[in-house]
């Protein structure tokens, strides 16, 4: 495990988390500790073991292709930080 401070910045960027230099350094030290804890896992021989995501190993259910939701735009947009004429407002993304 060789997580560098640059990795921390890279991961923060991927996760869209703004981070100051001070915060990145603290995060770096803590992440190294946590990955030290996780490292124990790496040595385990898992050849031939199927990954498990659900205890019952169920597969995703399918449903009829019918409308189940009705339009509640105003209700849902009441929780939005900024809306105008039924649209969510964000900073300009296309020049």
């Amino acid at each position: 495990m060789s997580l560098s401070i640059n990795d921390v910045y890279k991961v923060a960027r991927l996760a869209r988390l703004g981070m100051t230099e001070q915060e990145a350094q603290t995060a770096h030290a803590q992440l190294l500790n946590i990955f030290g804890l996780i490292a124990e896992m790496q040595a385990v021989d898992t050849n031939g073991i199927a990954p498990m995501s659900h205890a019952q190993d169920i597969s995703q259910r399918l449903r009829e292709d019918v409308v189940t939701e009705h339009n509640q735009r105003e209700l849902f947009q009441a929780a939005a930080p900024q809306v105008k004429e039924g649209l969510y407002l964000v900073p300009q993304v296309i020049e």
Partner: protein, 486 residues
């Protein structure tokens, strides 16, 4: 009245000894008096609770009532409840008014239970001490310098201090059982897939499971009867016949085989907790149970596996908080990326950001196989340990936590130490098994000890029977914290 079981409360309501409005007001008055000290609730809305209580009183005059009609239940603030502020313990959702009900909330509403308020919790359920909440830490009613456990610490403290008749919680790595143990109450995490996750704010979707928190196993069974059930809107909800979880409560325990995993009694377990657990096992022997030594050889890998899987799933689930459709948005930003980064940096607390970082890293290009896939494979090894163990025993018992409640701020600076406090509970989530914690005495510092009971898949009724029979011959579950007048 406050010491009554849910069945007794229900009987009092139906015989008009007390109305639901009066009972709700009684709890609301207690919350007003005690919440400033304990901080167990994030949101109380007297008017909305009383509207439900008045409706319940009407329902109680009619012939068709349910065991929980009119009973005030505290809801963990992770469940969306229509028109209620639903924060998940986070600044990110500090002003979020839920536009719909979670399945669990719908279920309680449908039987006429009263929503008494939203309980405090670790932010996005990430924590074991309730100290990561944006709304401040909860205090343990038994000792105000001690943590209540987490993440369902508000619910545990509220039940323990009689600030509600019962409560709900969620458990991803121990978040029902650990606070139940530390606050001296009973809590049950059902088999994964038994209770719908619809409207329950997601942390780690393959592990999250809701369950009841109350003062006795009998109360838990009544609550689980309402909470459990198939729901199409949760893709992992299991289609099963309806069960009555109270059906086996009174069965004798003759012939019960209790498995004791040697890994749960090894180094790291404090002597006073070990002593209390051994005393409760001795009590079970008197009730006709026998003991089998078992082993869960991969259980030491639970914490490493969990701290890959849970953060990975969390980093994905929490990507939805972008300051666009709902939730916190930073007041100042220069462009879209800057708005995302600042909103998330300011809206999430330290522990949540830490887990998003871990999760993003283990899922990033080139690391998926080494971390996420490897963890999912070991998850199967851990689950297989239990399959083997249940060939030799009916239930597994051990301590819920290695120590009684630790002090506030004691483990704050060292995330790894905090993570290790869930050492006995996490494997159960990874395997998807049901697990519960019931009060089993007190440690040397006078704080409660929890006995963990782990059952095979869908064996909740048996576990509740096992817990209920113990509670017929012991009175740990009726102990009330000093200074909490009832």
């Amino acid at each position: 009245m406050l010491n009554s079981s849910l069945l007794q409360l229900g009987a009092a309501l139906r015989s008009k000894k007390i109305s639901s409005v009066e009972l709700t007001q009684l709890y609301l008055q207690r919350i007003t008096a005690l919440n400033s000290k304990l901080n167990a609730y994030i949101t109380v809305n007297e008017e909305m609770s009383l509207v439900q209580a008045r409706a319940a009183d009407v329902q109680l005059t009619q012939s068709k009532t349910h065991a929980l009609t009119g009973i005030p239940i505290a809801q963990k603030d992770i469940f969306c409840a229509r028109d209620w502020r639903t924060t998940c313990g986070s600044k990110m959702l500090s002003n979020f008014i839920a536009p719909y009900d979670a399945h669990v909330i719908e279920q309680f509403n449908s039987v006429g239970a009263v929503n008494l308020g939203k309980t405090n919790m670790d932010e996005f359920a990430m924590g074991s001490s309730n100290e990561t909440s944006y709304f401040g830490h909860v205090k343990n009613p038994w000792n105000n310098n001690a943590v209540p456990g987490g993440s369902s610490g508000g619910s545990a403290a509220a039940v323990s201090a009689h600030l509600c008749a019962a409560a709900t919680g969620t458990d991803t790595g121990g978040s029902i059982r650990q606070p139940a143990a530390l606050c001296g109450i009973s809590g049950l995490k059902p088999t994964y897939g038994v209770v719908s996750r619809y409207g329950m704010i997601a942390f780690a979707s393959s592990l999250d499971q809701a369950g009841p928190m109350a003062r006795s196993a009998e109360d838990l069974a009544l609550l689980l009867n309402v909470m459990a059930g198939f729901d199409e809107r949760d893709s992992t909800s299991l289609q099963r016949d309806t069960e009555d979880y109270t059906r086996d409560l009174n069965k004798p325990l003759n012939g019960l085989r209790i498995g004791l995993p040697k890994e749960f009694f090894a180094a790291g377990l404090s002597a006073d907790v070990a002593q209390a657990i051994e005393a409760s096992i001795a009590e079970y022997k008197k009730l006709g149970a026998s003991v089998v030594d078992i082993s869960l050889p991969n259980s030491h890998l639970s914490i490493p596996v969990y701290y890959v899987l849970a953060p990975a799933e969390a980093s994905s689930n929490l990507s939805r908080y972008d300051g666009v459709r709902y939730g916190y948005r930073t007041p100042e930003y220069t462009n879209l990326a800057d708005m995302y980064e600042k909103s998330r940096a300011q809206g999430f607390g330290e522990e949540v950001k830490r887990r998003i970082m871990i999760g993003t890293y283990v899922l990033s290009h080139g690391y998926y196989d080494a971390y996420y896939l490897q963890a999912q494979k070991i998850r199967r090894l851990i689950a297989q340990d239990f399959v083997e163990a249940f060939k030799q025993c009916d239930v597994i018992m051990g301590p819920t936590t290695p120590t009684t409640a630790f002090n506030l701020a004691e483990k704050n600076d060292d995330p790894v130490q905090m993570y290790l406090s869930d050492t006995y509970t996490i494997a159960v989530n990874l395997a998807g098994l049901p697990g519960m914690s019931i009060p089993a005495g007190f440690g040397s510092n006078g704080l409660p000890v929890g006995l963990q009971i782990i059952g095979n898949y869908f064996d909740e009724a048996r576990m509740l029977n096992v817990a209920h029979q113990y509670q017929q011959v012991t009175d740990w579950h009726t102990s009330t914290p000093q200074h909490i007048e009832v």
